[in-house]
């Protein structure tokens, strides 16, 4: 199956093919040799030997317990993480869960984080002009009635009166007519609007209904995204130059991407599920790595090798959806009855297994520890035979 498409002589091919390199690395060696043009067979030999040595060194040994090593490598620094949900660190004055609680939240793949947030990057002139950036802010931040004007109740006439602030309306780019319309749609009442004054009341005069209306009025989002309670605007030095960046408290990633002026290629959020829904499983994997790494880095523990975090992220996204680590996710879906029973709710698992006549193949670690056999890892899985003549099949790779 050796078909080499590169312009190199047969001796060189023989030398390179003789190494223990995978196909793609061999091809890359050929490519390099081809580019050199004047490389001799000796050069080729030296190069491929060097590449091979380097490749063998970087490989994980067969039988290495990589998962266990990752667990320890993340777990140990984990003991030094803040156990409190301390806030206000990092960027801007935004409240962000950090330390251990955040790490747990990530590996548990919670539906919504404790403190959801988005980092919104802007496009073109929105990123450079403060005015324009503010336009995006108003489209993001949920605007409630109290931000737009004063609300008073006239108990004598059973009316709710709103006097809107003209400047605020202009700044937030919403008209009094629009406000009145939104109130009608949401509360199902007819309003009387004159200039910046809006009036409405319950159909039947009722003190209770009146108060109820005021209550509901306060909850209406007139502009922006319901979930976003606050936006902080910051000027930052980026690779692209000085730009405005928005940090939001609360997130609605899908909605935010649609807003004019938002750079849909850089904007991110800290909710894994929102990333997964909008950008797919690969982006979710990337976010898991990024978020776990940042959580550790925030506490000065970023000397944890990323490979461990990558392994965790790979496991969590292996089935094409985000799975948590723990009873409801990866550990709960283990093949072996004994392994599941050892983890939690022992009796239930054993009972169910007995009822269904489940068979345990004793492939995993836990099962073998339970029955007292060597585990299939490290020295426990070396298959040693007496005699140096190998019977059947040579050591191919």
């Amino acid at each position: 199956m050796t078909n080499v498409h590169y312009d190199v002589d047969d001796d060189t091919i023989a030398v390179v093919e003789d190494t223990n390199l995978p196909r793609r690395l061999k091809d890359e060696v050929y490519e390099t040799l081809e580019d050199r043009g004047d490389a001799t067979v000796e050069d080729a030999d030296e190069l491929s030997k060097a590449v091979e040595a380097r490749y063998m060194d970087t490989r994980v040994d067969p039988l290495d317990p990589v998962g266990t090593v990752s667990a320890q490598s993340i777990g140990e620094p984990g003991t030094q993480l803040t156990m409190n949900t301390f806030h206000y660190a990092g960027v801007a004055e935004i409240d962000v869960t950090q330390g251990l609680p955040r790490l747990i939240e990530l590996v548990d793949a919670r539906k919504t984080p404790d403190t959801p947030m988005m980092t919104v990057y802007l496009e073109d002139e929105y990123a450079t002009e403060r005015e324009k950036a503010h336009e995006v802010v108003w489209n993001l931040e949920a605007t409630k009635i109290l931000a737009l004007g004063d609300v008073s109740t006239n108990v004598a006439d059973m009316r709710v009166q709103i006097s809107l602030n003209k400047d605020t309306l202009e700044e937030r780019m919403i008209t009094a007519e629009e406000v009145a319309e939104i109130i009608e749609d949401n509360l199902g009442v007819s309003t009387v609007q004159q200039g910046t004054e809006i009036q409405f009341g319950p159909e039947e005069p009722s003190y209770r209904d009146l108060l109820q209306l005021v209550e509901e009025l306060r909850d209406i989002t007139f502009k922006g995204i319901e979930e976003v309670s606050r936006v902080v605007i910051r000027r930052e030095e980026l690779d692209e130059g000085e730009q405005f960046v928005l940090y939001t408290e609360g997130s609605a990633f899908g909605d935010a991407l649609e807003i004019e002026g938002v750079d849909a290629s850089r904007t991110t959020c800290n909710n894994l599920h929102e990333i997964h829904r909008n950008l797919g499983i690969e982006a979710a994997r990337e976010t898991i790595i990024e978020e776990t790494h940042n959580t550790l880095a925030e506490q000065g523990l970023d000397d944890v090798n990323v490979r461990h975090l990558m392994l965790v992220a790979d496991m969590m996204t292996n089935r094409g959806e985000i799975e948590s680590i723990g009873r409801h996710g990866i550990s709960g879906s283990k093949q072996s009855v004994l392994a599941r029973a050892a983890f939690e709710v022992t009796v239930n698992h054993l009972l169910n297994a007995a009822i269904h006549g489940e068979i345990d193949d004793l492939d995993g670690v836990t099962e073998n520890v339970i029955v007292g056999k060597p585990i299939k890892l490290g020295t426990g899985d070396v298959d040693l035979r007496m005699g140096s003549t190998d019977s059947g099949g040579s050591q191919a790779d």
Binding site: N20, D61, P62, L63, G378, T379, D381, V382, D383, L384, R385, M386, G387, S388, T389, D390, G392, G393, S394, Q395, A396
Partner: protein, 61 residues
Amino acid sequence: MQQERHNRYEKARILGARALQVSYGAPVLIETKQTEPILIAAEEYDAGVLPFTVKRGYDRK
């Protein structure tokens, strides 16, 4: 063909197996001043005289 270098687990397993044999009185295959079975096994391993084969991965079944 000479078998590919053993990794650390294979080496440990081979040394352990050989040391056990030596401690039970198996004839030592080299000249050595060592008296500890595990050290004898290590010297034998380095000399490349141990008659063990490690079956790996897919050609095991």
